[in-house]
Symmetry: C2
Subunit: 309 residues, 2 copies
């Protein structure tokens, strides 16, 4: 018996919710396949789609770390083989490592008889983020695991809040073909911020959350503003201003950097505008001579997809 | 014909929502009475309950400034006499000047035939705050005018979002008999804050707003945390730690400083716990030899009360 799990990409920060908010989209994402094996312990036997960049060592691979954290808590000692099929770009700002970690813990949990609920898996997947970034971020892992919009209310102890998703909310994502290391993107951040900027930022986060509960698309749009991080982080993304302008002209509610970039997301009301915004962003980037791919999807409310093979 | 309006006290900041969030309680508050007079222009003819501290000059009194801003926009030039009856302590951190401004604009609007909606009155009442503090704060004026919990999503342009109020949410307020000038309370604030603290603060604000929408009292309680301002501002409030501990032991969901203090509020589930929390806070302060008064009320959803006399 083997289990395949597909876990989706996620957009973290969402303009005004730095380190606090994220949502899941339907594609791209990663697939993890696990099966029981005669050889004891967890082993990663194959990784595809990573151009050889990810380690097979369980203790060095984020998906491996997450799955092992789960197994350690159960005391399960049987053999498990894991394949990781990356179906999304690394270092894209779309929660690539999180998607693998989430797929891994959901798959292993299913394989060994589901000792944990979906919500309980969060802390194991977060361990993978700690391995990847040194910090147990949950704003990609949370939405990839639970679907929809997820607020990380607290890191210590870890507590997430699932927020409602208005029916017509769609997302356009563009991944420009440049790579930004999360570490570099964090290095351009200031360690202290102006109080008045913080007030603007948290007022917008409050407005965004209220907009999600009320299904008020215009309020969502007005709240999608990041005056603290976007001004500096966007300097690392060639063509950012052009892409944003193009998305807004196409009718997007708002547009900002996905995670630490270089991907850029736009939230839109309805599929038609979302497709137009994606096309407009890509057109703007092409004119500047840069390659990219785009993804258009409704907000992903279902979370990981499990198939028993 | 004369019109009397009672506008209620408010709790601003609400722990994690500095300059962004406030809610109204039922008492205390201020009453403003207006009537038409033969002498043209707006005149403040009487102020009671202020121990002679507030100016009769329309251009120097926050209620006068607010009402005059309204009249200027209508072009109304008839005579209006205004009485201001302060029924709450000045400098208490309960939005005293806001209550007067709100009562004044609602009363004058009613007197001259209601040219403006309740929501449209917000910017006139905010002008009074600009006169009082130099900054057009709206986190007291907003909830006093509109009732309930109000988020100031944006100051420029001014935009407020009314948030839902769970049915059993009650508030205990204690006003210790010490005075803190808003200016002093702002002077202890740092102009820059740590990014990691800001993330904690805005995650809590997000949690509080989600808790209000979901009617999740425990989430509201966990989110009522202020790690940025309370640690320094509470130093100006004798007995703060004892009061907070007493309120929490009495079962309050959370407890923090009201506005810039010295009043302290606790949010509670139900009247019984709210009364117990108020008693416990007062008892703690009495033991420390300090006088105080307490107010216990459900969250005030109705806003100002108009009586045509």
């Amino acid at each position: 018996m083997s289990v395949s799990v597909f876990a989706a990409a996620t957009v973290a920060n969402v303009a005004c919710g730095f380190d606090a908010l994220g949502f899941a989209i339907h594609e791209p994402g990663d697939e993890v396949i696990v099966r029981k094996s005669a050889q004891s312990g967890l082993r990663i036997v194959a990784i595809t789609g990573d151009e050889g960049r990810l380690p097979l060592s369980v203790t060095k691979n984020t998906a491996g770390v997450s799955a092992q954290a789960l197994l350690d808590e159960t005391g399960y000692t049987g053999g498990i083989e894991m394949e990781i099929h990356k179906k999304m770009p690394l270092g894209s700002g779309l929660g690539s490592s999180s998607a693998s970690s989430v797929a891994a813990v959901v798959a292993v949990n299913e394989l060994i008889g589901s000792p944990f609920t979906r919500a309980e898996l969060l802390r194991f997947a977060t361990e993978g983020e700690r391995a990847a970034c040194g910090v147990p971020h949950a704003d990609n892992v949370g939405p990839s695991l639970l679907g929809g919009f997820v607020l990380i209310r607290s890191y210590n102890p870890l507590e997430v809040v699932q927020l409602p998703v208005p029916d017509e909310l769609w997302c356009s994502v563009i991944h420009p073909h440049v790579e930004i290391l999360t570490e570099d993107a964090r290095n351009v951040l200031r360690r202290r911020i102006r109080l008045e900027d913080a007030v603007v930022q948290w007022s917008n986060l409050g407005g965004l959350i209220a907009g999600l509960y009320q299904g008020d698309y215009q309020l969502i749009g007005r709240s999608l503003s990041d005056i603290i991080f976007e001004p500096t982080r966007s300097l690392l993304i060639p063509g950012f201003d052009m892409m944003k302008q193009a998305a807004m002209q196409a009718g997007a509610l708002g547009c900002s950097i996905s995670g630490s970039g270089p991907s850029v997301f736009a939230l839109c009301r309805g599929e038609e505008i979302a497709r137009a915004a994606a096309d407009a962003m890509q057109h703007a980037l092409t004119k500047a001579g840069l390659g990219s791919e785009t993804y258009v999807s409704a907000i992903n409310r279902q979370g990981p997809v499990i198939r028993n093979l």
